[in-house]
Subunit: 343 residues, 4 copies
Amino acid sequence: MKAIVVHGPKDLRIEDRPEEEPGRGEVRLRLASGGICGSDLHYYNHGGFGTVRLREPMILGHEVSARVDALGEGVTGLEPGQLVAVSPSRPCRACRYCHEGLPNQCLHMRFYGSAMPFPHIQGAFREVLVADAIQCVPADGLSPGEAAMAEPLAVTLHATRRAGLMLGKRVLVTGCGPIGVLSILAARRAGAAEIIATDLSDFTLALARTAGADRTINMRDEPDALAAFSADKGTFDVLYECSGAQPALVAAIAAMRPRGVIVQLGLGGDMNLPMMAVTAKELDLRGSFRFHEEFATGVALMRKGLIDVKPLITHTVPLDRAVEAFELATDRSRAMKAQIAFA
Amino acid sequence: MKAIVVHGPKDLRIEDRPEEEPGRGEVRLRLASGGICGSDLHYYNHGGFGTVRLREPMILGHEVSARVDALGEGVTGLEPGQLVAVSPSRPCRACRYCHEGLPNQCLHMRFYGSAMPFPHIQGAFREVLVADAIQCVPADGLSPGEAAMAEPLAVTLHATRRAGLMLGKRVLVTGCGPIGVLSILAARRAGAAEIIATDLSDFTLALARTAGADRTINMRDEPDALAAFSADKGTFDVLYECSGAQPALVAAIAAMRPRGVIVQLGLGGDMNLPMMAVTAKELDLRGSFRFHEEFATGVALMRKGLIDVKPLITHTVPLDRAVEAFELATDRSRAMKAQIAFA
Amino acid sequence: MKAIVVHGPKDLRIEDRPEEEPGRGEVRLRLASGGICGSDLHYYNHGGFGTVRLREPMILGHEVSARVDALGEGVTGLEPGQLVAVSPSRPCRACRYCHEGLPNQCLHMRFYGSAMPFPHIQGAFREVLVADAIQCVPADGLSPGEAAMAEPLAVTLHATRRAGLMLGKRVLVTGCGPIGVLSILAARRAGAAEIIATDLSDFTLALARTAGADRTINMRDEPDALAAFSADKGTFDVLYECSGAQPALVAAIAAMRPRGVIVQLGLGGDMNLPMMAVTAKELDLRGSFRFHEEFATGVALMRKGLIDVKPLITHTVPLDRAVEAFELATDRSRAMKAQIAFA
Amino acid sequence: MKAIVVHGPKDLRIEDRPEEEPGRGEVRLRLASGGICGSDLHYYNHGGFGTVRLREPMILGHEVSARVDALGEGVTGLEPGQLVAVSPSRPCRACRYCHEGLPNQCLHMRFYGSAMPFPHIQGAFREVLVADAIQCVPADGLSPGEAAMAEPLAVTLHATRRAGLMLGKRVLVTGCGPIGVLSILAARRAGAAEIIATDLSDFTLALARTAGADRTINMRDEPDALAAFSADKGTFDVLYECSGAQPALVAAIAAMRPRGVIVQLGLGGDMNLPMMAVTAKELDLRGSFRFHEEFATGVALMRKGLIDVKPLITHTVPLDRAVEAFELATDRSRAMKAQIAFA
């Protein structure tokens, strides 16, 4: 079977790997669709990010759907041929954080396609994948592409829970890549009354509006537009910071109302922040990282038609053109989510 | 101008009352629509409820929309002719609870159409009403009937906030009168993943399904149906208890999962509760009473098409047939929300 | 070795049982002190409570301290001879609630001395006990009696966390048995500004004052005393309901201020509650059941001198007079916590 | 009467000002004690901080106690001669934040001794002060110096509420000026199990230990000491950041455990923060600013002996030597809280 392996910056190869057999509690899956995430792009374009660097070849990918191929011993509740969304979250279920109900903070997490420990955790972009049955969430009624969106959707559902009460709130979203636009969907699903989104790309902002943003601002064209929201100490109850860019967060802080909640999703470097405003307005800046049970929640919401991710899937590319897909995904002026079709 | 006045059980009269002039910060309104609430029905059918009894004639009504007729001194932001939803919540803004941000717990609340203090607080079912400008929320784009639904909708939005995080939750709604069905809309708007509703009337349960309930149970036909949800200590994360009926709450407690949240909206008498289950499952039973800022939130959500209350308005009756409207509203086998058209 | 076994109402026997060897991750303990809890008394006096009934002989006891006797394979961090508090909480660490961080709601809990499943979970009142090392919390510097108080203390620390913010709050405690008095200590430790306690026994109320209650009320002498706290909708922010008695809770509800939090700890039967007041004042009634990580917290707080449980230990009785100890513990006019000295 | 007026950097004058008469709801007070706060020192040493600059002479001071001299019309509950702590928090009670229960975020706050609006809000360091009766909290049984500590104590009680549950938590305090040391007292009062404090001064760290810190670290001597707390993603549940210094916060972030809460109290400039750690560990950084109802809470806790601030009052200087007091207060190697004795 074939797998998509990154060897270094701009060195992506489609390689043959042996198939595995499912053990007890496991299933063998034939991959259907795989979405390219920002971290995949970091490995592909730069060989890593921050202190996380590639040190050996690594199969990429953690946003995948698949069809059940064979069931290992003891597995119930799944049928051969069934489409499933596959969660890349594999906590140890035994460390202190797992026992506290914080599996996304697991000390021994084996998240697909991650160079953080060494040896790296190999990813899910391979034609055949053996996974734990509990990673598989039935996705009947969804397309393979939608099912593969369960992972980034889960990231934003987790962030939405971190944000607290959302019903009737005024929401700002900074950065309209896939996580930003999915945050718009999630915030709306959770009852946000008004959603304003910013980015530097008209292409992504158009999709933000499709997703439900009431208004979008291209910060390149209107760099001072958020100042209009800073009267009386500020406007927004909630900020989804999805850009990882310091200027976006700094501008947003001035527009947050007292006791507003900032959920930091975007991964960037250090940021120089106006702590006087954070303190005086008693803002609440909360990191949000990955997800766990929200993966199944997202699948359920999509299956009921309560969240529609289809407009975000702008490109579907066959496996043998994977490099092209990675190049496309890198270009935010024309791609939102690019997915690889494995079957 | 005419007003709808209750003098005692089954003694409802349409009487002439003098018009008033708006003072500073006030507006004169011409009523558009008035919805009949359960408390109006208690006064009409029984002269009160519990220890709250009519002691003098009282104008009924607190679910109203109106058109702006004249602006008092200093009023801005409203236009003559404009449709507004009129909040019946008039806290003193000076007592300890008002200062704590709990205006719905105001010690000197003057909520329209309430016999709780004496002299009673006269209601809003009158052709001409002088109100504070801050009670009026512009309802452009809504029908008068929809705008008059802002009040009961606000009750359920408040309850939804009391319930805490809703995104992806499994929800049970007991009692599908207007508050129950609006709770379904509110829970869905706030992200509930699964909603099951119970009642004793097939008519109201059909509307519950229209509002988005995934499944409904007529407890008269299937009195033990909730037992199926009690395995592994229970299923539901959230209960909206809208019936005020002890059997409904008792049956629901067995179906709540540990740490589940019960929001008690239904007003009934004393209830004999299985406290052992409440304690051992660490349930969280929270009263929810009226609303405040959620009134404007509800109008905003309706105006954006994010909540659609229209299917609940089953009857619209002209003012001169008000008694007929009250009889209709009493009959839950054929009426959900009956409204009186004032103009 | 000897164990304290209940065979039925008023049938308590000291019997010989074989000693066990510690396996991997386990320790062998020689019991030091064992406190008699209300549930022990229910088994002893009535053969059970509610639907929980003895169906076979059961070793009682779950409030114990012990000295480490031998370490099983792989155990570190404990020394032979060391005094430890032994947590009776043994969740499966594998069910859904364990994974959610709610081990006290474990579906397969094996809590010492509990007749809830069958075969019953045998208790800890035995001279030699083999336990998991993770149940053992070093108690250096404490007396055996203090260390044996870790369990009921943990119950009240858990309840205090369930109560939410405590700093500066006005607190009512109904029922001044050991759990009530420990709740006073816990509430004070967490920053309660004012604590009022009620009971029917002058003996326990005197100990409540020793523990820090600012005022105590004997409800037998002053049945209407709480009415003085009901002005302006009520006074207390938090209620620890430790009596399990309906009249206590009903009287307290009238004295709770809007949005007040009632933590239900007392285990009783069904209770007929004034739901109108619960709803209209938006009270928050939360069950609290057992504990988990609070066990170690309580030991830490005692070791630092931040909580002093010594005044509650009114009687220490040698093992061979265990029946006498159970009779003493039953009499709340002269005993608070009676403990059995095993060594 | 005399007042302490700052005219510019190092230009502090004792000047005569006319006495005022108390109006309705007001009281005339004779000042007892006034504590010098960090913001007073900023005006005295630098003429302001950040963008807040002196533009006209301003009476300093907002940490004051006084004796009641005369009651204005309608005032009850206060007695001439009585010692009171005087809250400098004077929200408008009419803006949106006041109505939401966030008076410390009032849009029209008139906090004593603040150059933020212009004309400046004159302060309370004057022999005779007319204040609203509701600013005055009876302080019977306290010394004038203790009563004057109510204000900085309230800052830390507010921060403690912002921090959420404290019972049994592991707490880090960075910066041991008066706010840091009072945070230690507040955290302990709220149930913290372990408190570690850092600063650059051995003098303040000694007082931190007196206040209850379990361990103190002089970061000048042991710059890497916090690294020992970063294993397994970190140790501390709560951080009180009281230094306003970027290096302190950055070092502390590495020692915070996942989902830890950072309460930012220290007022400094912009800070460059490791956002990757904030995001990945899902830290929660919350600003905390001033206080409101916590002022009375602090007085109550001191009067009951539940918080003892006396060790912090290192210097008491008569009014005519006010300049000397300000110089003393500036020197953190020998002064913790310096107070001015007005009578």
